[in-house]
Amino acid sequence: MAVFTRTTKNLILKIEEFFDNIDLGLLVFREGVKAYLEKDIDAFNRHIQKVELLESTADKLQRSIENEMITHSILPQHRSEVSSLIDVLDEIIDTIKATLNEFSIEMPEIPASLNHNFISIMEASVSAGEELIPAARAYFKSPYTVREKLLKVYYFESETDKVSRNTTRIIFQEMKELDLAHKSHLRYIIHHIENISDNAQKAADLLSAMAIKIVM
């Protein structure tokens, strides 16, 4: 019986570890972007390596969690939603890894005057992701509190949109010295950073529906 085996305990630990990985990934992304903007390439490379490790661990955990839920018939009624949630969360760390790699490969030239804007976009986007993690943890322990926790995710997602729109406007309308290719490249990088909060919002929508289902 499930109570007398370690399966339940192991699965709980794996789910928690998965959330920790996403949380750490967001933290490392924040530090990585800051290191890039400060032109500290050694620190930036260290952060890329760290993110790659976290992403690979998250993938393994994702597969292991899904396997255990199926083979031990755990959470039969919520399994598909929990799998979807883990999948969307995994997309966040995938986006983090992809974005840092974009920085590393394409080396976007960010004008010093835009550093503050880029940090604001990154902070808002990462905050959306960071606020999502407690809500995801709450789904398993106190589903009644999930929806109130998700409010902050929606707030930071809309903040990200606002700041990135302003920054794009500055790039295209005020920075006449940049050529069109450079402007497009910066917009592309902004778009990548924005993807983190977009994915967080996607996960928040899913979590919100899951929480209603479980408390009904």
Binding site: M1, A2, T8, N67, I74, L75, P76, Y139, F140, S142
Partner: protein
């Protein structure tokens, strides 16, 4: 000859196993919390235990309604009930074995001129209504308690579900035990007055004549569970409304509780001691108690997703099942007596005059039952070992495939 006469009872037991026993684990299997294989094994074992250990109480009340005093009569009465259950099930109506057997016994009473005990009949009929109502009340109370615990305890969802799963297995076992104790009267009750077997000494315990019949009935129920209840279990889980895992636990517990209170003499005397009217020991319909419990939860949750047509079908079943079964028993008894010239029983006062023959103590029957128990034990051990090794093999294969996947990925 004995086995031939018992076949109708065994058939009734089989259909009870296939339909009513499915109710015990139906919500658990339907909600995918417990696998059918596990549910079927647990239900089979505990139904047999319940029947043998605690089956006497409800049988006594059924015996009061009409003591079928010839083996031919017992055979025909059980057959009429089994046929009624079969056809009602075929037409998709939530049928109760209890109602079928009560109707058939009244049919026998009418045919043989025996009076029907009005008090026993009132007791039985009143539980057809009170059973589902008590089930509904108990289910709502339990559901509220469980929801409150879940809300305030902050238990991890995975752990909570594992508690629910373990709870479903334990409560399901209790439910199966109660079902065996309560409903075995339907299957074998009519044969008790007509059978008089030797006590069977098995070393650790002794089985009386009625307990041997209950054991056979329990085995028939177990066969019904193992062979035919799979489909029914999956339907029960979702036919009335979608059940969450905790609702499934509550429904099974409510049903087990209702069946238990209507078959436990200990509980009945406890209730009497504290000054309340005692619960009659009567076979109740597990199907209807389950439906009552599910509807109770549905009403508590707002009654938007309940299939109310089923309520109408239950009410119709209260009237239609005993009537059909009674008429069928009456005419079958007529044919068995007049065409096959088999004694189907007489008016209670005339037994000695007509020389009605019961099945008397026969050491060979006891020997057959002894061997049956032994082979059952061996089969049980083999089944458990087979199940254990199958599960182990699955786990090893999965682990190997997982290791291979990650090795190749590197």
């Amino acid at each position: 000859m004995i086995i031939l006469f018992l076949t109708s009872g065994l058939l009734l037991g089989w259909s009870l196993g296939a339909n009513d026993a499915a109710n015990v684990f139906g919500s658990a299997v339907g909600s995918k919390m417990v696998s059918f294989r596990k549910a079927a094994i647990i239900a089979s074992v505990f139904v047999i235990l319940g029947a043998v250990i605690q089956g006497a109480g409800a049988s006594e009340t059924l015996g009061k309604l009409g003591a079928v005093n010839a083996i031919g009569g017992s055979f025909t009465v059980a057959l009429a009930a089994a046929v009624t259950v079969y056809f009602m099930t075929k037409f998709g109506l939530p049928v109760s074995t209890t109602q079928a057997i009560v109707g058939a016994i009244i049919g026998w009473n009418l045919f043989t001129g025996n009076p029907t005990d009005g008090k026993a009949l009132t007791q039985i009929v009143s539980t057809w209504v009170s059973g589902p109502v008590i089930g509904a009340v108990f289910a709502v109370l339990l559901y509220i308690i469980l929801k409150t615990i879940k809300k305030n305890s902050s238990i991890h969802l995975v752990r909570f579900e594992s508690y629910i799963r373990t709870g479903l297995i334990i409560v399901g076992a209790f439910g199966a035990y109660s079902l065996g104790a309560n409903n075995i009267a339907n299957v074998m009750g009519v044969f008790i007055p007509a059978f008089n077997l030797h006590d069977l000494d098995l070393g650790i315990f002794t089985l009386s004549s009625s307990q041997q019949l209950f054991l056979l009935g329990g085995l028939a129920i177990a066969a019904g569970i193992l062979t035919y209840s799979n489909r029914v279990m999956e339907i029960v889980g979702s036919s009335i409304m979608e059940l969450s895992s905790e609702a499934a636990l509550v429904v099974v517990l409510a049903q087990a509780f209702v069946l238990f209170i209507f078959s436990s003499s200990g509980f009945s005397s406890f209730i009497e001691r504290i000054g309340l009217p005692p619960f009659p020991m009567v076979p109740v319909s597990s199907t209807q108690v389950i439906i009552g419990s599910v509807i109770g939860i549905g009403l508590y949750k707002g009654a938007r997703n309940i299939n109310f047509r089923i309520l109408g079908e239950i009410a119709a079943g209260w009237v239609v099942t005993p009537i059909i079964s009674g008429i069928l028993a009456f005419f079958s008894l007529f044919f068995v007596k007049n065409i096959f010239s088999i004694d189907v029983g007489v008016k209670a006062g005339n037994i000695s005059d007509t020389g009605t023959q019961n099945i008397q103590a026969d050491p060979r029957v006891s020997l057959i039952i002894q061997y049956l128990i032994l082979s059952l034990l061996i089969a049980g051990i083999i089944a458990v070992l087979f199940y254990y090794f199958l599960e182990r093999k699955k786990k090893i294969e999965l682990r190997k495939s997982e290791e291979k996947f990650w090795r190749n990925l590197k």
